[in-house]
């Protein structure tokens, strides 16, 4: 049981990758990429968890209270911002691909290979 949250992260990553591989629509592909990426949030937060501890914010609790790891939470914040920006750029690319090729099905995008 002590490794279950880590395994959830691995499962999320693989599910996202499976979606990437079998996708019929580039918008769906981008969504699958964010699923795969969300595995990293679960992994980071699981690594930082400390049983029975509270959030690392000392506005309401006295200094010295047991808290979970703030470093991985800060890393998750960076991770989320990067995920959001990557999603925006990929969706913009999808719009341009649709305008150029009239399809968002990756299997029909043959002109890229010619």
């Amino acid at each position: 049981m002590t490794t279950l949250p880590y395994l959830v992260a691995g499962w999320l990553f693989l599910v996202g990758c499976y979606g990437l591989v079998t996708s019929h629509n580039l918008v769906h592909t981008v969504a699958c990429l964010t699923v795969a990426q969300s595995a990293t949030y679960v992994l980071l937060l699981a690594v930082g968890f400390r049983a029975g501890a509270t959030a690392p914010v000392f506005a309401d609790v006295p200094v010295g209270t047991r808290v979970v790891d703030p470093v991985v939470q800060a890393l998750s914040l960076t991770d989320i911002v990067v995920a959001a920006t990557v999603t925006a750029v990929l969706l913009a690319l999808t719009i341009q691909i649709y305008k150029r090729h009239g399809t968002v099905n990756p299997d029909e995008l043959r002109t890229l290979q010619d």
């Binding site: 002590t2 808290v67 790891d69 911002v81 920006t85």
Partner: protein, 283 residues
């Protein structure tokens, strides 16, 4: 690579990854353990010397502030990339606003009522980043969301007028530049880039944490402008731009020619857009 090849590759690689990942997590400290050396040091520094109640903010904007500078410029780069990718193509023109569909009066009322509330919440979250959960990134997104309530209320022209792209681009740049400037000020005053050189104030006070609130403010401005710019790029595609029926001379799709014609072609929709929107407003 076709679909079958991708599936075969996945079927080969996924089990290998699964086994290696399982072996790797077996070696991690068990879930919920007490062993967090970095956490103990980060909390000690934040609550002691730096007087920042929100340790996550202290890590982001003080102890690891250089990383956040990189994050800030990733955001900046992606906004530039999205704007460049979504610029009007030569064969597109500004067709003016699509006639607004029926927006329910209740939706409109909710949009107008929630706009000031969400702007206030956004400013609160940015200003209290050093004390409570939140900060520049979270508050900036709340601010940008509030802005888009104008769109939900059916006033796209009001959204455009309240936040012209030029102003947003300048705000985005000022936010990113302010972060760098505060870092350089630390270099001059404290001897290292992004040093927390200001007096840290008393713990759990609004004015505490030294440069943390300032950096939060800079990030808040940059993020709010960035999100509005990103969303307006996509909204523009859906609401304003139309593909012209006959492509402009020398700009048929899928050939090399658009490159030659693009310099002239792209100017026109941009120049026309302001007048078209103005016309739509006056109607």
């Amino acid at each position: 690579m076709n679909r079958r090849a991708r599936l075969v590759l996945f079927a080969v690689v996924a089990p290998v990854f699964a086994v290696l990942f399982f072996l790797a997590v077996r070696g991690l400290p068990s879930f919920g353990s007490e062993f967090h050396p970095y956490a103990d040091r980060a909390v000690a520094v934040a609550t002691g010397q730096r007087a920042t109640a929100n340790v996550v903010s202290s890590v982001n904007f003080d102890q690891r502030a250089v990383d956040t500078l990189g994050e800030e410029f990733i955001l900046f780069g992606s906004v530039v990339g999205t704007i460049v990718l979504l610029r009007p193509a030569p064969e597109e023109r500004d067709a003016g606003l699509r006639p607004a569909g029926g927006v329910l009066p209740t939706t409109r009322l909710a949009g107008y009522l929630l706009l000031p509330v969400s702007v206030l919440v956004g400013l609160y979250v940015i200003a209290h980043g050093q004390l409570s959960p939140g900060g520049g990134f979270q508050g900036g997104v709340v601010l940008a969301t509030g802005w888009h309530l104008l769109y939900v209320a059916g006033r796209y022209t009001a959204l455009r007028r309240a936040a012209p792209p030029t102003v947003l681009e300048i705000a985005e740049s000022i936010g990113a530049a302010a972060y760098t400037a505060i870092g350089l000020a630390g270099l001059v005053m404290g001897g290292a880039f992004l040093t927390n050189f200001l007096p840290t104030g008393s713990f759990n006070d609004l004015l505490s944490g030294g440069t943390v609130p300032l950096l939060n403010g800079a990030v808040g401005v940059a993020v709010a402008a960035a999100i509005v710019l990103l969303l307006s790029g996509f909204l523009e595609q859906a609401v304003v731009l139309r593909r012209t029926e006959e492509p402009l001379a020398g700009s048929s799709i899928g050939t090399e020619e658009p490159l030659a014609g693009s310099s002239i072609g792209t100017e026109e929709p941009l120049a026309g857009s302001s007048t078209t929107v103005d016309d739509a407003e006056q109607r």
